[in-house]
Symmetry: C2
Subunit: 201 residues, 2 copies
């Protein structure tokens, strides 16, 4: 009875093929400039085949973003090991977050800016990957608060402030590349250190 399994495997394979074709095109040409026909051409199937694997273009975007969030989560969780100095870990996590956004700017925008426009209100639901990313941030912040290093005692608010800072600088650097920014690394460090200093007791 291996036939059914082989078929399922083949189906999953094509799904992945579609997904990676979509990601590549979305990232290189922008979500709006990618048509279902373009994706279909790339994988050498008819456009309608895609609809057998994804309900529509927004669903395709959704799946691409889920992958991005998984990548981000993996990147962050590799820093988790060292909890001796929670403030340093939080700072490093912030830096890793921003650098992830700058390394994959299109993926970042797709996930945190474009998708909310199409999937109103979704993306950070219970059990979602997005929530896990924010949970990671909560944990880091919680560690700092528990050790009495922070003035603020509210984990939620503190996490949200941290997120605002890194999200803000990431998007500004992506969206206005021609703006006369301070040297990039200096700006990133200043954003993180300023925020952490402001949170300290």
């Amino acid at each position: 009875m291996g036939i059914k399994e082989r078929k399922a495997r083949e189906k999953e394979q094509l799904r992945q093929q579609i997904l990676s074709a979509a990601r590549e095109l979305f990232v290189n040409e922008g979500y709006e400039n990618v048509s279902m026909r373009k994706i279909a051409n790339k994988i050498e199937y008819s456009p309608t085949t895609i609809y057998l694997y994804f309900t529509d273009k927004a669903d395709l975007l959704d799946s691409v973003c889920k992958e991005t969030l998984l990548n981000l989560l993996n990147t962050l969780e590799q820093l988790k090991s060292d909890i001796s100095d929670p403030v340093e870990t939080l700072g490093k996590s912030g830096r890793a977050y921003i650098e992830f956004g700058l390394k994959y700017p299109q993926d970042y925008k797709l996930t945190f800016v474009i998708r909310p426009q199409y999937q109103k209100g979704l993306g950070l639901d219970e059990g979602s990957v997005g929530e896990k990313v924010f949970d990671y941030l909560r944990e880091m912040v919680s560690e700092c608060i528990q050790q009495g290093i922070f003035h603020q005692t509210d984990v939620e608010t503190t996490s949200q402030v941290m997120w605002s800072a890194v999200h803000g600088v990431t998007l500004l650097l992506i969206d206005f590349p021609d703006f006369p920014w301070t040297e990039k690394d200096k700006l990133i460090d200043t954003v993180i250190h300023t925020t952490i200093k402001g949170l300290k007791a």
Copy 2:
């Protein structure tokens, strides 16, 4: 020779009519979901007439955003009068910026997120309204630095950090309305105060 002037006035009138129809539709239905034909219907002209006043859809977006930036600039400059306590003025300005974004969320996204996608790298050029908005921020920050209140002595970096914070929280509140945010006003205040505290000497 009043005829020429009347004609010019009428032309300008139609231009404004197109612009405000476009803004209303962009804001209510989203840039991508608004077609040139929709705008044309609203003003009761043929679609091609729009092209006599704007080079293309992106130009229309551009003009709408320019208006938004002017509105933002006006809102901010009303706070300028009181320079006795520069830190308080900076804080108030930050709050006004965020509240502007939340009052006109679609306009804000159009200007600071959607437009950069279509007009790569533009929007903050020399002499532009966007630059004037940032100049306002520079002035506020400069005042704080001159009075020796801030640790940082670099006006540019400090301004950029401030911008990152307010831009970040504004977009997060707009894009993820279903996220379990801390009470909105508290979050905004905390973001501003944390950033300012982090910048202080």
